[in-house]
């Protein structure tokens, strides 16, 4: 009995010590100087980890404090709002945000506006209509032209197939602006090739294991499938694995989006065909630098496009 109690107290001390040691470590910088918060969709996708790394580099060279926070799961817009609300209680000077839900996050942006914290939107747009309805404003948008990226992917697929064949699409979470824009661009480009038709289009919610299953099912129901376009690389890699387990590697054109390291390696290996390179590091850097400019009273453009390109090797 006595020993049980001791172990309990030791466990409590251990659990509490971790976060607090962390906090004390950072205590010197928080509150002093300039603090920029970067709230991402998640921190378990290499894209956002890269974005955070770029932001951190810029913050270090400008000598400002960067707080990076994200919900556990990419789709958890409610948790993301809570994080924003909590951070607004601290002395953050600017908020850089990749919305988990383009419409849903708008009330949190309005709260930031009320707290007079400038909001910079990165990667995924906030819904313009919802912003207007809530009377909320954002300082700038930093991100890729996803529609154009989708078009590039579409033209690549069409040419790789010689203008003929059946194509499947793996969608991200419906309602996410980035995914929707990529698909719009892709469909636009494909529609110019009468010989190519999109025979299946399903969501895998941005996730690799779901994309694996979705692709397996698509290969089952469409044996004549010749190409797959996934709205991000995480899903494209899931598709690549499903294609491999069906013994059809090299037989299908698989195109992703993001050109993250693992996808580029897969392209070099020849198991994946192409990806659209975004530059998340660049996005992170521009976000922090723009925040700094805004806080200095300088103006920044309302739209800051970050370049994209096709990667085939």
């Amino acid at each position: 009995m006595r020993s049980a109690r001791w172990s309990t107290w030791i466990a409590i001390a251990a659990v509490l010590a971790g976060p607090f040691a962390w906090a004390c470590n950072r205590g010197d910088d928080v509150g002093g100087g300039t603090t920029v918060a970067l709230v991402l969709k998640t921190l378990n996708n290499p894209f956002f980890i890269e974005l955070a790394a770029g932001a951190q580099e810029a913050a270090d060279s400008l000598g400002i404090e960067l707080l990076v926070q994200a919900p556990d799961r990419e789709i958890d817009v409610e948790k993301q709002m809570q994080i924003i609300e909590n951070l607004l209680q601290t002395d953050i000077d600017a908020l850089a945000l990749t919305p988990s839900g383009s419409r849903e996050v708008v009330p949190a942006i309005a709260k930031a506006n009320r707290a007079e914290v400038p909001v910079l939107i990165v990667d995924t747009r906030a819904d313009a209509e919802a912003l207007a309805a809530a009377g909320a404003t954002v300082a700038t948008f930093i991100g890729s032209d996803n529609v154009e990226g989708g078009r590039i992917a579409g033209r690549f697929v069409a040419e790789a197939l010689g203008g003929e064949g059946n194509v499947a699409v793996i969608e991200g979470i419906p309602g996410h602006e980035t995914g929707d824009s990529r698909l719009r661009g892709f469909r636009e480009a494909i529609s110019e090739y009468p010989g190519i038709s999109i025979v299946a289009s399903q969501t895998a919610n941005w996730e690799r294991d779901q994309a694996f299953n979705v692709t397996q099912n698509m290969l089952q129901s469409h044996s004549d499938l010749r190409a797959i376009f996934a709205a991000n690389d995480v899903m494209a890699l899931g598709a690549v694995e499903a294609v491999a387990s069906a013994g059809r590697t090299g037989d299908l054109v698989v195109v992703g989006f993001d050109a993250q390291d693992e996808a580029v390696a897969a392209i070099r290996e020849g198991v994946m065909s192409a990806s659209i390179a975004q530059h998340p590091r660049e996005m992170g850097r521009i976000a922090v630098e723009s925040a700094w400019k805004i806080l200095q009273g300088d103006s920044v453009p309302a739209e800051q496009p970050v370049s994209i390109e096709l990667v085939t090797e």
């Binding site: 466990a11 659990v15 607090f20 709002m81 994080i83 909590n86 951070l87 419409r103 309602g175 969501t203």
Partner: protein, 310 residues
């Protein structure tokens, strides 16, 4: 009551530690913020407390949040007035809960299995009904449920406290409450003493479903969007709140007051870790640690009181 004091002490220690660690914690705005953020899990956890008191478990609450929200959104989009749409959502939640109850009592399925099935059915139903897309665009009047306040207290908090008040009354003063404890304490004995165990157990799962639907209405109002992917993992947060609050997973002992404190501990912890700027990865570790420590403490207390621990 002594058990709740232990949990309350835990909450106060946590608050004190945060008060020392960051100047931003102990402000009226932030405390209101924490309580408001605790409302969603807090309300679901009331239903979960009833279920766990009967020695059951409900894994479907998060999916029911999604399905009732989407049902409400669909009804609203089909032209029903918002009030009727909300009632539709509540009816769907109640129906799911009662279906759980029927599967457990009439179908004799273990609660874990019945509600695991419902978790998938309700989630799939929400995706089918909404075609996987969020349903947005509600009136400001409706959204006031999430954004409005009563004498400075956010409305969701008022609603949550009212629900806790009612639940506490039900559990401590009514037949349903007494029987809930009796069934969890010893189901066979309850049956033998003439309690209509099946009816009361079904009612308890019905309550859990209904309260999930209440949560979904607040969530839709907060996000201005009914999402088929809403509420994933809410069941685990709710179970954690109940367990931290001192309700025994073996059934028969615990209270909603403890659960309220448990939900607040979870809310304060998340808020505090955000305020401190703790890495998102470490936050998950810390939250898991607190759940384990809370149960360790609970078991230690039970051993001292010579109550069964397994």
């Amino acid at each position: 009551m002594r058990r709740e004091f232990g949990t309350l002490a835990g909450l106060l220690v946590l608050c004190m530690a945060l008060w020392i660690a960051t100047p931003h914690f102990l402000t009226t705005a932030n405390l209101l913020n924490v309580v408001e953020q605790s409302t969603l899990i807090g309300i679901i956890a009331v239903g979960m407390t009833f279920v766990i008191l009967t020695a059951g478990i409900d894994l479907s609450v998060g999916s029911i949040v999604a399905l009732s929200g989407v049902a409400m959104g669909t009804a609203f989009r089909a032209g029903l007035p918002i009030f009727a749409a909300a009632l539709t959502g509540l009816a769907v939640g109640l129906a799911c809960g009662l279906a759980n109850g029927a599967l457990i009592t009439l179908g004799r399925l273990p609660p874990f299995i019945a509600t695991l099935g419902m978790m998938s059915i309700a989630r799939g139903g929400a995706l089918m009904l909404s075609d996987g897309r969020p349903i947005s665009g509600y009136s400001d009047g409706f959204r006031a449920l999430a954004t409005g306040d009563l004498l400075g207290i956010p409305l969701p908090v008022v609603i949550m406290l009212a629900i806790y008040g009612i639940a506490h009354f039900v559990l401590s003063r009514t037949t349903l409450g007494r029987y809930t404890y009796a069934i969890g304490g010893n189901e066979e004995a309850a049956e033998l003493s003439g309690i209509r165990v099946r009816a009361y157990k079904s009612a308890v799962y019905g309550i859990a479903g209904l309260l999930s639907a209440v949560t979904s209405i607040l969530l839709v109002a907060r996000l201005d969007s009914a999402q088929p992917i809403a509420g994933i993992m809410y069941e685990l947060d709710a179970i954690a709140a109940v367990v931290i609050g001192g309700t025994s997973l073996l059934g028969g002992s615990g209270s909603v007051i403890g659960t309220l404190i448990g939900a607040l501990i979870m809310g304060v912890l998340r808020n505090g870790l955000n305020l401190l700027g703790v890495s998102s990865y470490l936050q998950q570790v810390a939250i898991g640690g607190v759940i384990i420590v809370a149960v360790l403490m609970d078991m230690a207390l039970r051993r001292r009181a010579r109550l069964p621990t397994e």
